[in-house]
């Protein structure tokens, strides 16, 4: 097919002289047959987009992956989010958010892992920890007092009695005592944690109601999730992140934050302190709750 396109294109470009002359005399079917339809063809190399090829890797690795910065631009090339651009080069360390990720051949059993290293991650506010268990290593979000050499436990067992939660361990919500500080919350069991991952944040397990658990997120919003959702105990590392003083404009630029427009714009209804009741509890479990009537 590519060959036929090429031949068609070339044929349209090179129309011989005698054909033209004859066309002047007989403007009939000759012209239409000789000049084929063609839309032109490219003479450059392949113009496929490789903007997101760096994130198409399928196999997990602990090696840092080189990132391409977007500058706030989307696929059309226009800025979709202002204020992003520049900054120090960063490499992405692939974090395994699914804490209950069993190793091959050892499914179903609670396992322990050893913390090898806790280090800074340029891609997020929290610190990350390299943990090794069995024959594999992975990156996870570090909790507050995690240090190299610690042993952390992950188990999916929900016993009748609540487990004495050690910081850094991961248990299902149903196994933890009410009132524990938790982080890296899974909303749907097995999906991987999507909430409470920022530096210094922690949620509170408020109560456990027949098969579900209610957790208060750092924004004081309450969510009801299935009790088998995995969660890590403790506060996320780097707790003084919100007290950090940037100090100068240049430091913001190192982080990749571009200056906002200096134009004074009248603030609308979105600005100012709002005092309103908490939004209703969000339910992520498809169970009829007892309170529903």
């Amino acid at each position: 097919m590519a060959l036929s396109c090429l031949t068609r294109a070339l044929r349209s470009l090179t129309v011989s002289q005698n054909t033209l002359l004859s066309s002047q005399c007989e403007l009939g079917a000759l012209v239409s047959t000789t000049v084929a339809q063609c839309r032109g063809f490219l003479t450059t190399a392949s113009l496929e987009q490789n903007k997101t090829l760096w994130k198409q890797r399928e196999k997990y690795t602990i090696k840092p992956i080189g990132m391409k910065k977007t500058g706030g631009r989307d696929h059309t090339g226009r800025i979709r989010t202002h204020g992003i651009g520049g900054g120090h080069k960063q490499r992405y360390r692939w974090i395994d958010f699914q804490r209950l990720h069993y190793e091959e051949g050892k499914e179903g059993k609670p396992f322990e892992e050893k913390v090898v290293e806790v280090r800074y991650d340029p891609c997020r506010s929290a610190d990350i920890a390299l943990v090794a268990g069995g024959s594999r290593k992975r990156w996870i979000i570090a909790t507050e007092n995690m240090q190299a050499g610690d042993t952390i436990k992950t188990s999916a067992v929900i016993g009748r009695m609540a487990v004495l939660a050690n910081e850094g361990d991961a248990h299902p919500l149903g196994a933890l005592p009410v009132g524990t500080l938790v982080n890296n919350l899974e909303i749907q069991p097995g999906k991987g944690s999507e909430y409470i991952r920022a530096a210094g944040t922690s949620g509170v397990l408020l109560r456990k109601v027949n098969g579900t658990a209610i957790v208060q997120l750092p924004s004081k919003q309450q969510v009801q999730v299935h009790e088998t959702c995995m969660v890590t105990v403790g506060r996320v590392s780097n707790i003084d992140h919100n007290k950090e003083v940037i100090g100068k404009a240049g430091r913001n630029r190192w982080f990749g934050v571009r200056p906002s427009s200096g134009l004074w714009q009248r603030k609308g209804g979105w600005a100012g302190r709002k005092i309103k009741p908490l939004p209703a509890m969000k339910n992520y479990v498809n169970l009829p709750s007892i309170t529903a009537q």
């Binding site: 129309v15 012209v31 239409s32 000049v35 339809q37 987009q49 059309t76 069995g134 024959s135």
Partner: protein
């Protein structure tokens, strides 16, 4: 120009129409002056090339149902719209053509096995370092070199005349003089230093004839297989410089000490498994044991293995991982020799334990190792264990700076060689002379 292009664009957006082309040709020919022999090329007509490419749509999955086959136009021998495309059976050449050979998938290779094998090669960096290597090789570690080794060098007959001065000259040659540039790089100076030190030790051949019964070999490939517990392990690769001898090294520890190692308790690496950071393969040859030399090699006994750290510029190992590498390769050499002498069946106790020495260096820091293989039975953690004497992080000199380090107008470290330690070279010489004294 522009009305022409506009007309061209409108004409070409729809397929070429006779009238449009005719009009243009008429216009061109009537123009008089400019007569183009070719119709205008429509470079402006193309879609936006930097737009998002829609993801390649996966073709509809076609499930072959055995009873219902699609009617295809294969029998009619020409394309018929509406009928399915005939699927021809894959044709393969009946001979093997090396230009067009596609290797089969891993599970269909002839040597593929169900049980995996963990391979340690020269690029492996063990997470736990020396404790993991000890666990894999069932070894007891004794810090410091064996005393009988060091006592041999204290005898002045076994020392080189003008030893300190000559060693310092050797270091200076390797670090400063061996280049036309400002300073030689690490791979070069570590190699040169090792060669110089070995040459110095070899000058004692006149008084110690046994040194003449040795041979150096480089870039030889080692292979050894052993079974530790439930898992199969292999050690493969080119390790470094091998100093081999016609006579075996004397045994370092006697039978009583060997029997005492049975009481030693191996350190557990829990929760990390000892197979971490090893390459896991399913395609391997069982019983792969190869010392790297043929059977009639005149120097079959391994004396010392010299391993350089900066040899591979793509990566370098940390000290702990480097020590583990030295230990593993010393063990590998000893095991390959043991398999050749005593066969591949696990032996609880070797009649004559095999001793192998290893020296690792990065140009300044030396790691000395003496390894004694007492057993090839690695099934459990109990029983007689192998022994390893390790002297770690022996710095031959502190600094060898081309330009002095000056902080706040004060010379902190002078240029040239600083902090030379003669006792480290004594250890090097002791290891060289072991068995020849």
């Amino acid at each position: 120009m522009f009305p022409e292009t506009a007309r061209c664009v409108t004409a070409a957006l729809s397929p070429f129409s006779k009238t449009a082309v005719l009009k243009e040709l008429r216009r061109l020919s009537a123009h008089g002056g400019v007569c183009r022999l070719q119709p205008r090329r429509h470079f402006a007509v193309s879609r936006r090339l930097t737009a998002k490419v829609p993801p390649p749509r996966k073709p509809r999955e076609r499930v072959p149902i055995p009873g219902l086959e699609m009617i295809n136009y294969g029998e009619r021998m020409h394309y018929v719209p509406g009928l399915a495309k005939p699927v021809n059976p894959d044709w393969e050449k009946d001979f093997k053509d090396p230009r067009y050979y596609k290797s089969p998938p891993l599970d269909k290779m002839p040597l593929s096995k169900e049980k995996p094998c963990y391979v340690f090669n020269q690029r492996s960096s063990l997470l736990e370092g020396v404790p993991q290597a000890l666990c894999l090789t069932k070894t007891k570690l004794i810090p410091g070199l064996p005393p009988q080794l060091l006592s041999a060098v204290e005898n002045p007959a076994n020392q080189i005349p003008d030893q300190d001065e000559r060693v310092q000259n050797a270091i200076k040659h390797a670090r400063f003089w061996d280049t036309t540039e400002e300073r030689p790089d690490k791979t070069k100076y570590s190699n040169t230093l090792l060669n110089n030190l070995m040459h110095l030790c070899a000058t004692l051949q006149s008084s110690h004839p046994a040194i003449g019964r040795r041979m150096l070999a480089e870039k030889y490939s080692l292979a050894a297989t052993w079974k530790r517990g439930e898992d199969l392990f292999q050690i493969r690769g080119q390790n470094g410089l091998l100093h081999s001898c016609m006579d075996p090294l004397p045994v370092v520890s006697g039978r009583e000490e060997v029997a005492e190692t049975a009481d030693h308790v191996m350190q557990s690496l829990y929760p990390v498994s000892p197979t971490i950071d090893l390459q896991k393969i399913y395609v391997y040859k069982e019983e792969m044991n190869n010392t790297g030399f043929r059977d009639d090699y005149p120097y079959p006994h391994v004396h010392t293995l010299y391993i350089l750290d900066g040899a591979d510029t793509n990566f370098s190992l940390r000290r702990e991982q480097f020590r583990a590498k030295i230990l593993m390769f010393a063990f590998g050499n000893a095991l390959a020799r043991a398999h050749k002498l005593y066969g591949t069946q696990p032996q609880r106790v070797l009649d004559c334990p095999i001793t192998v020495q290893a020296v690792g260096t990065n140009g300044r820091m030396f790691q000395f190792l003496v390894f004694q293989l007492n057993t090839t039975d690695f099934s459990g953690d109990d029983g007689i264990k192998n022994q390893a004497w390790l002297d770690e992080d022996a710095e031959l000199y502190d600094f060898a700076k081309v330009r002095p380090l000056i902080k706040k107008k004060q010379v902190k470290v002078p240029a040239g060689l600083a902090g030379y330690k003669p006792e480290i070279f004594n250890k090097f010489l002791a290891m060289y002379l072991h068995g020849a004294v």
